[in-house]
Symmetry: C2
Amino acid sequence: MHSKVTLADVAAAAGVSKMTASRAMRGAKDVSPKTVERVRKIAADLGYMGNHVAASLANSRTDLIGVVVPSLSNIVFSEVMSGIEDAIAGTGLQPFFGVTGYDPEREYLLVRQMLSWRPAGLIVTGLDQDAQTRALLKAATLPVVQIMDTDGAAVDLCVGFSQHEAGAGMADLLIKQDRKRFGYVGCALDRDTRAIKRRDGYLNTLAKNGITEVPQQTSTERSSVAAGKTMTAALLAAHPSLDVIYYSNDDLAIGGAFHCMERHIRVPDQVILAGFNGLDLVASLPTPIATTRTSRRDIGTAAAKAILSRHGTKVANDPLLKTVPIQHVIDARQTVTAK
Amino acid sequence: MHSKVTLADVAAAAGVSKMTASRAMRGAKDVSPKTVERVRKIAADLGYMGNHVAASLANSRTDLIGVVVPSLSNIVFSEVMSGIEDAIAGTGLQPFFGVTGYDPEREYLLVRQMLSWRPAGLIVTGLDQDAQTRALLKAATLPVVQIMDTDGAAVDLCVGFSQHEAGAGMADLLIKQDRKRFGYVGCALDRDTRAIKRRDGYLNTLAKNGITEVPQQTSTERSSVAAGKTMTAALLAAHPSLDVIYYSNDDLAIGGAFHCMERHIRVPDQVILAGFNGLDLVASLPTPIATTRTSRRDIGTAAAKAILSRHGTKVANDPLLKTVPIQHVIDARQTVTAK
DNA sequence: GTTATTTCCGTTACCGGTACCGTTGGGCAC
DNA sequence: GTGCCCAACGGTACCGGTAACGGAAATAAC
């Protein structure tokens, strides 16, 4: 039975002490090349497999990195995780994740459970954890990176961009297009705090420009192309004269684009549709829609690197606030300028 | 400093032994309710947080469940992970994942690393691991679930459907539409073994029906809507008379649909576009495209449940092969029949 | 040849919990 | 009061590794 082979067995078979066997397996110093080779050969023959659990307990540090995201059905978070993966590939670190479903209580339990694995670092989405979760994160002696948002106070490290400014920036850009009748479509606004911030930024900026009548179509269901389609239909039915619709994200905006294609509503001549995220997909749409490009992958990579730079360090380094650039575009199909 | 509070500290503060404190915290038997309350109160005051690493070492079993997927940029695997999450939510199990990028060598290293965490179970994508990885999985004394594919021999448990039959089934359905000129567009066929199986099923079935001339447009780049668009353009430029194009997945097919919209090629009258996966998105497309609906979430859920059912069990139960149904449709927009 | 360095390996003491078994004391039957 | 039983708790020995330190043999320095 392979999995019962322990380091002591290997050591015994090789005629060395457990300690030497350990060093040989890890490639540590103070072992002769001959011994290393012999130990490793025997380990392979015996089917020995290291035990991370014991190793982690012994040197009181794991190679785990916890990732807390609100959802997996949103491709954006997959891309963030993908960026994390890229950054830690080859470093021996293992990501493990949990999904909150935008539920603060679940987030709290998740963070607790993760912390009790004593990970090397924690990456959590957003800055709006509730009090108990924040307390937990603050008390933890490990690097914590909050991502995707910079509107608020970070517990430790922070990588993202201002969601409020994202909404405001898109509003500015839309106003410059000389439009008059602005609408809004959003989902999950009861729990997606970042979507709320974007909407607030959007509405505030419109208000500053004297635009206070902004018909909205909202729902608590989760974002999807299908929802975008039906909600656009509803909004335009009630307010046919709208010449701008801002959506809480690209999925909804794509749904809006599909609705307009079917109804032969000219986009963007008659109505500009503006989403958020800059999904790859929107660049291929037959219809030009506006969006805000965000570099999710870079955020994941930067967050993971921030943890890596602290890995092994006992003392806390400089706190970090990294703002990644975003880019507002009226036609998502325009080529991306290399940065 | 919170995180240095150990169970011994709690025990000392509560005036009980470590053992009693341990039992109190876990809600085990043989502790009086009064003591439990007192210990827990003190633990909370001290900010005590359990240590999964030590606990796992002590009782030699973890609550981790490893998930190996080839990619995260494909929404399909996010959905699988989402299904896994659903199944284990509330059970105290923690998923941790790794991404192979369709690279067998990386998969091997990943599986090794995961196994050295002694997880409660392992979920890996596909049946086509290389020899060394298979050996590793076979030797491991834990439930291993291979998902997404049933064409081949499983190491232990298996949840999925026949990729070969999926391709064949779609070919059958397309032939029934009375089409004559079949084409194919695929990406990543150098490494995505499941896509290869679908194509083989497709081509085999066409051949059985006397259709041997099947123009193909392939690429090693990863699937995307953009790739689908350009590859469709290329294929139709070379073979304008095609009246069916089968794609290796929905992303490419959607790109094809977008191309046809822009060029005013009538879909499906002039050409049927058939994808694979049944992404939610395709149901909202203005243009009807064909697809095969697969229940990714169910696969994830079933895989996780299979592991759960063995959790804690020492002996191996019955091996399992669970085939989940798939559904071929010519118009993805048609309503999904409840199962 | 003697002393100062390396090089290489072993001993000891944990890391922070839990399983297992033993012990204590109070309630109850008689 | 004696004996018995069970609830409630404690002592000990690990789980499988690694850090820290120490010591002996081999090499270098003089």
